[in-house]
């Protein structure tokens, strides 16, 4: 390697810096396992750092041994010493290290299951969105979709299942991922700690719009959460005209509590205007995007179960958009 072309030597440094920059960029933000906002993600991050440091130490030891053997150790070692090295370095030390790491990893697992949760939320994966159902103080279900709100500092039990194919529920900032399997309920306990907005994703390829299957996670002050949940349980408060929404059949698939729209096929829209995103993390919730989703659901979200309603007269699309945008 020594004495090779200078350009060649310069290249890895630039690439290394750029790569490191990109990796550091992924270390914080709304969707990073390295910037934990909850107890489980914190443990995952700690495990990751312990593993990383351990791996670095082992790597340095192995490379150091190799350099020592090739540069400074002039004469061959005896067969006896060689055998001892293989026995310790190849069998005994790795076994001890792996056993220790396994014990450490296993120790983390009960914590993921433990706890008497203050809140239970059922989340069902469907192609390509998330059905979210809270239990109110009286035990009644409060339906929502594509957004998960949790109180900071309290344990929340998430019951995960799927309506069609296997999905995987992953909020990198809060915890590890867990599969959602049709006909089976998986339990995940979250202890969100830091107030903020995070992003959850489907982490198991589930079809054409897998990449458009995300959701917003909002960790709130417990008091604010209680107030929000109480509001969520109430019917939609709107002054806008629901006529176009009902006449065009939207209520066949969607519910807006307090109106004749009681469909259960698609997401509950009772408080749609409160949500940050549309179409399971596809668009920001703006009137333009809302109209576009109604008119072109099958185009903007391939494989979407919702038909495109672009054939409706523009004034109907406007009226539906205005109505949905008013659902607070």
């Amino acid at each position: 390697m020594r004495g090779s072309r200078p350009g060649f030597r310069a290249f890895p440094r630039t690439a290394g810096l750029a790569g490191a920059g990109m990796m550091l960029g992924a270390c914080s933000g709304t969707q990073s396992a390295l910037d934990p906002a909850g107890r489980e993600a914190g443990e995952v991050a700690t495990l990751f750092w312990v593993m990383l440091v351990g791996a670095a130490v082992i790597w340095l030891a192995v490379i150091g041994t190799a350099v020592f053997a090739s540069r400074w150790q002039g004469r061959p070692v005896s067969e006896r010493a060689g055998l001892r090295l293989v026995l310790w370095g190849g069998a005994i030390v790795p076994t001890l290290v792996l056993a220790a790491l396994l014990a450490y990893g296993l120790r983390l697992m009960p914590a993921l299951r433990a706890g008497e949760p203050a809140l239970t939320v059922e989340v069902t994966g469907e192609q390509y969105w998330w059905r979210v159902s809270y239990r109110g103080p009286d035990g009644a279900a409060i339906e929502s979709g594509n957004e998960l709100r949790l109180p900071a500092g309290h344990a929340a039990e998430i019951l995960l299942t799927s309506a069609d194919v296997i999905h995987s529920f992953w909020i990198p900032s809060l915890a590890g991922k867990l599969d959602m399997i049709p006909g089976r309920t998986n339990r995940l306990v979250l202890h969100p700690e830091r107030i903020g907005t995070y992003r959850g994703v489907c982490a198991e390829f589930c079809g054409r719009s897998h990449t458009f299957m995300a959701f917003t996670v909002i960790v709130m002050e417990p008091a604010a959460f209680e107030a929000w949940l109480a509001r969520q349980a109430a019917p939609a408060a709107t002054a806008a005209d629901e006529g176009a929404f009902l006449a065009n059949g939207c209520g066949g698939c969607h519910s807006v509590r307090g109106t004749p729209a009681t469909g259960t096929i698609g997401p509950d829209l009772t408080h749609l205007a409160d949500r940050a995103m549309l179409g399971a993390g596809l668009f920001a919730n703006t009137p333009e995007n809302l109209r576009r989703f109604v008119a072109e659901a099958e185009e903007v979200k391939p494989g979407s179960r919702m038909p495109s309603f672009g054939m409706l007269p523009p004034q109907d699309l406007d009226a539906i958009t205005a109505y949905l945008g008013s659902l607070r």
């Binding site: 066949g252 469909g263 038909p307």
Partner: protein, 361 residues
Amino acid sequence: MKLSFRITGRRLLYLLAGVGLLGLLVAWSGLVNIGASAGHWRVTAWALHAVMQNSVRTYALFEPPPPADLDSPAHIRRAAGHFETACAFCHGSPSHPAPILATVMTPVPPALDGAASKWTPRQLARIVRHGVKYTGMPAWIAPERDDEVWAMVAFLRALPDMSADDYRRLAFGDDHAENRPLRNNPLESCARCHGLDGNSAGGAFPVIGGQSEAYLRATLDAYAKGLRPSGFMQFAANAVPASELQRLAAYYASRPGLGRHSEPDDSDGSRIAFHGIPASDVPACESCHGDSARRRDTYPVLAGQDAGYIAARLRLMKEGTAPLPAARVMHTIASRLPEEAIEAVAEFYSRQRPAADRRDP
């Protein structure tokens, strides 16, 4: 004397070029008599006919198999009115066997009372769907409409045994005979098949009496503009002015027929109509087609519609052979409906007709 002449490649080429040139010369001269009055030489007629017959036999292999209920009375009735307006003009009919214009055509359009014994159903379907070049026989306006092609085939198969009276009843309808004042009124053409009340005539036609006016208008408009494929209805709506189509829509919408609402019961069809099939993402039919005063008026009324028609439409929408804008939404939904569900829901809606309105022949 002996002439010796050697055929060489070059001489052959000259000969071919000469013949070709002669042909062009004849064509250019205008001496070829293409008058229909001139008829064909026997050998030409024989050759053209042989080519046509062989072609039909071969291409019939690509036709789909006929439906099991091919010869049902509803199929026969369905094509009869169209036969009268679009076919009998050249081919004649039991009621008017020898149209005079046909006798001066080359080739003379055959009377069709022998067609069914000469051709198999698939061969008939081939001719009906694609027509015959150089004869004046047109193709089907909407070749993708298998159901219409088979209805016409069924009619052709029934034609040999049809009396003039039977024919008139099928082709002109019951209302027509006693309603002379309708002459030269576009309604006369509609009433031939749909009757004056827009009833289903034993399952041959959709019930259009009492249908939403906006829906009827949009449908007629789509037929007239070629947006909704139908060999029967595109032909019927083609020459009618838009104002007249509006009047016809208003007329049939005002007739008794379809019910105003549906009554749930414990049948499978009722469950689909009122609750959909949530597990397959099928919404309730009633959410768009139900009895809400606020229902979008271009969505058709289903209560009391003919079961065969609903099922056939759902199948067409499932296939995607219904490119109307709103039918795209129905394509998405119908593609999730299994055949049993289509039949159940069609049967349910056909039972929703108020007894007083029922007037099947």
